[in-house]
Amino acid sequence: MIQLEQVKKIFPQTTVPAVDEITFSINKGNICVFVGPSGCGKTTILRMINRLVEPTSGNIYIDGENILHVNSDELRRRIGYVIQQVGLLPHRTIEQNVGLVPRLLKWPEARIKARVMELLEVVGLDPSETAWKYPYQLSGGQMQRVGVARALAADPPIMLMDEPFGAVDPIVRGRLQDEFLRLQQEVKKTICFVTHDINEALKMGDYIVVMNKGKLVQKGTPMELLSEPANDFVKDLIGDDRGVKLLDLTRAESLMMVPESYPVARDCPCFIDAIQPVKMALEVMMKNDSDVVGVRRGDKVIGTLSWTEIKKHIHRISGD
């Protein structure tokens, strides 16, 4: 668990704090996304967690231990770090890049080799083909993958990711995001993720922290942010399609009507899975030219979801 307590950072020769008395905590195994416009202090927060930036005041704890009392180099070897520009060492092979932290930790050479090969496989690169290449021989997407593999190398419980998929085109970005979420299901890291893209934040975050001008504006789950934005800043950040975005996060089962009130469920022309988002229900309705879909859990039909219910829901949450 990561805890920040009244953390403040004023850079030299400035008066306005870059980060202003921020307090929050991130639970083990969660992805916490910091989102906000550039200059809002999100990257500074990230860099304070691995002490690339030292806070002016306040305290940061990792698993109850004050990180300001730990040697900063040793601290960083326990924290994975991924940045937008990747920052692979251009004069070292991919194998050496990924093996960087294990080598710093003086793992035996055989174990490093095995770990590197395993990780390249995990991030979707062919180890036998990639390991001996140099960074300049890879595509942008491949470099990002190597960046993630390098951060995972020593199996750190915590990962800091600063716009890790920001430098690749939207198609590759989407794929990398999906793959990373799948990977996270297995590795269960505690992740701090920085982005300026609210859609990425909603997609990746278990928890989102909205920042503006060094201040914490709102924190909550993607659902909470969408249904109860704290102010106009958050509303603007989310955009005008708040209702539709919410439907992407709402499971079909949460809006469905139970069979008693809708005895015709079995007669529905089309079906979706209970845990699928309402957005999918809309898609299925449009395809089948129907105002209603049946909701199934496994093989069992458990309810129906109608266009009227969805409309009512959107009205309820947008409230205006």
């Binding site: 180099d73 960083r76 692979l88 710093l104 300049y136």
Partner: protein, 214 residues
Amino acid sequence: MNFEFERFVIAMFDRAPPYILEHMQLVLIPLAIATAIAFPVGVLLTRARYRRYSGRVMGIFNTGQTIPPLAVIAVFFPFLGLGYRPAVIALTLYALLPIARNTLAGLAGVPLEVKDAARGMGMTEWQTFRQIEIPLSLPVVMSGIKTSAVLTAGTAALAALVGGKGMGAVIFAGINFFRMELILAGTIYIGLIALFLDRVLSFIEARMTPSYMK
């Protein structure tokens, strides 16, 4: 001026060759001393603590470069007298700038994100310097040393004026005795020495350059 081919052949193959090693020494010793001074200075001036002095120090080096080597020799003459030592000192001062400048440029050219990632991974400041900054800036530093070497090869001819020997002795003898053959032979050898140093240092530079920079 007189020119006789026979005398030229004698100058080329008999008179001048003994001065080749002397001249090489006059280039390589100042070059080694200059590198030993300019490289650490360049490194210090790129560290966070001393970065603010880099403008001023480079200013001093730049000024040094504008003083003619003859004048430098004249300035040191009252303290060091004539001979080999003042020549070496003057040439050293002259060789400093290109090396210092390229050390600064080379280190400043190491991509920020690479240093940031390295520190973020937990490399110490020394490890980052040794394993990343040095190898990535070395080609640029080497090209500074090469520039200095070629520059010094030419300037070293003046060492003969203060009794510092070298190929300059052949040229000045030619001037004093109106013998074009000697002047030409000395000049050709200095050119060859400069060319040779350039080739050798280029080879080393190429060997040090990581494949991605080629």
